[in-house]
Symmetry: C2
Subunit: 343 residues, 2 copies
């Protein structure tokens, strides 16, 4: 909490912010963030109107006393903190990706969708390239509202891509693009993660990519299916995990799960993904973050929801936590840390 | 191995490289790298003279058959893949750091020293700043040939810094700078990591920083001392770990050790540090990498040795693996993966 408090205050020292903008300058989960904002108001350190949160005079004093300076902007503006840039082949891929996906299906809450900025989808593919996980590889993608399949196929580098997706609209959208582009090495499969992984997909792939739900049972299911699709030792995997709906305690449980599955974490990049969420609905619908927010909420003017990129590598035979059918219902998507997910 | 092979070949497709330059374009450990180079020569895919390694005609064919393209350079040139830039306060710190450290003691093999580029030391401090681990924090630094103490103190942000160091030369160097600068909040302690952590340093700090040895017993000792210095839940730690002298298998053991100590990994940045190693000695001295290299070795012309930056956060009470005196000798520094360390 102390860290969250300091990150909030130094951000406000640099200038007033909306509730949503301020989220990006702190590393706490949304529950801690809301609590800290409430606490700071109660202590008279910050104040809020229906647009902005500002530091009070008392807040300025607090900062001075604790020797906190205004937030220094040191995130690299060229790569936006990702460490890699979309140039050469990847610049072309980004342009084509924008073109091919401009009529993509909108995100729907039923499957906890919310896709990342197009640059992020292509950057994820570029990251895979840098680690040697793209060229000539068999790639398994589980859940693809980000349309990573299309970005990866556009590089013409993978040997084969299979994408497994539950949402009929996305299955159809990707299928249409694949047919129109004449990609023979891309296969689209309708698949519900609660069902066992079809036998013909088991043990076939060098790399998986998924952007799983944020609950522990949900993550266990997504990662288990993904690693069951892999060939074995040295196979790699990529997934996104937010800190906004997952406390460090939950991160800990997830990392133990990863090791238990016989994987090691090789890369973990802060806020690699920014999500394009429908902005209006975040003040009108019944999200926990809306209920818990201790200040009036303006319509967000920024993409405030972020996640971190994990890369994993198998150190031995992958050990899925389950290969059985799951009977999870809404608890697949929702737990008490899911502040930006509809119950 | 398959990944290492592909990364070597695509790098050579982009242009010939020295044995040392090529290391930077692949993610394998030095043992796998040497083996793969030997294998590729045997298969006639690459060839080497006393300066460069090149792809043969057969190698070109292999690349074509496996649809491998010349390595695309996508590492961000502005931040060199770190995601953050040294501007504002941190640019000033870098200039002062260069000035204050230009007569630093040279690295010596006795303590497996080898310090990182000055930009990397300051970038590490900037990274700590971004995560909220610098301002108003009590910081413990274990082993400091990188001189992180000086970079951190120059920001004027930490509340207190204690640096524990075994090498008399570095103790003296930092002490002299501290006295000359009049830093009242920096304390230098001569300390051998094999001894128990002095009681007055236990449970006192918000953050630790260390660049440990790469052996499992050595890492266990370094991390145990460091986390024993921390206050408790939410305290953070930073350390460097190379993939060049640590296989993924070793990474796995280290990550399990981290979880067992009650910490979670929050960030893991690829090749954050580049080391300034004495270049001549890497072809004249008895390093395993020199003995195992299957090609003639030129004097390195680049800083080829890198390590990754880990950030940890305590999810509960830190649990050091040991708080006892250790009787480790040279095996503190050396195991069968230590290819760039003198036995």
């Amino acid at each position: 909490m102390e860290r969250t408090r300091m990150q909030i205050i130094r951000s406000l020292l640099a200038g007033e912010k909306s509730f949503w903008e301020l989220i990006r300058d702190q590393d706490g989960d949304l529950s801690s963030y809301c609590q800290e904002i409430g606490q700071l108001i109660e202590e008279g350190i910050i104040e809020a109107d229906d647009q902005k949160i500002t530091l009070t005079e008392k807040g300025q004093e607090w900062a001075g006393r604790n020797r906190i300076k205004p937030l220094q902007d040191i995130i690299c503006s060229r790569c936006e903190g990702k460490g890699l840039v979309l140039q050469g082949i990847f610049q072309e891929v980004l342009e084509q990706f924008r073109q091919l996906t401009k009529d993509r299906p909108p995100a729907i809450a039923e499957f906890d969708q919310g896709f990342v900025e197009p640059e992020n989808t292509v950057a994820r593919v570029a990251f895979m390239y840098a680690r040697g996980d793209l060229e000539n590889k068999n790639i398994f993608i589980l859940g693809d509202d980000d349309l990573t399949t299309i970005a990866a196929a556009l590089t013409q580098m993978p040997r084969r891509i299979v994408v497994a997706e539950i949402d009929e609209r996305i299955v159809e959208f990707i299928t249409t693009v694949v047919e129109r582009q004449g990609w023979k090495n891309v296969q689209v499969v309708k698949y519900d993660v609660r069902n066992p992984l079809p036998e013909e997909l088991q043990g076939q792939f060098d790399v998986f990519v998924t952007d799983p739900v944020e609950t522990i049972p949900g993550l266990k299911l997504f990662l288990s299916r993904c690693i069951q699709a892999l060939k074995g030792k040295s196979s790699a995997g990529y997934f996104g995990l937010t800190h906004l709906e997952a406390s460090r305690k939950k991160w800990y449980a997830i990392q133990q799960m990863i090791l238990d599955m016989n994987f090691v974490i090789t890369d973990l990049v802060h806020d690699f993904h920014r999500y394009i969420l429908e902005r209006e609905k975040f003040v009108t619908k019944n999200y926990p973050v809306v209920e818990k927010a201790p200040v009036p909420l303006p319509v967000p003017q920024v993409n405030w929801y972020t996640s971190n990129l994990f890369r994993l590598e198998a150190v031995g035979v992958p050990q899925p936590a389950t290969d059985k059918k799951s009977s999870l219902g809404r608890e697949l998507y929702f737990d008490n840390e899911s502040y930006a997910t509809l119950p």
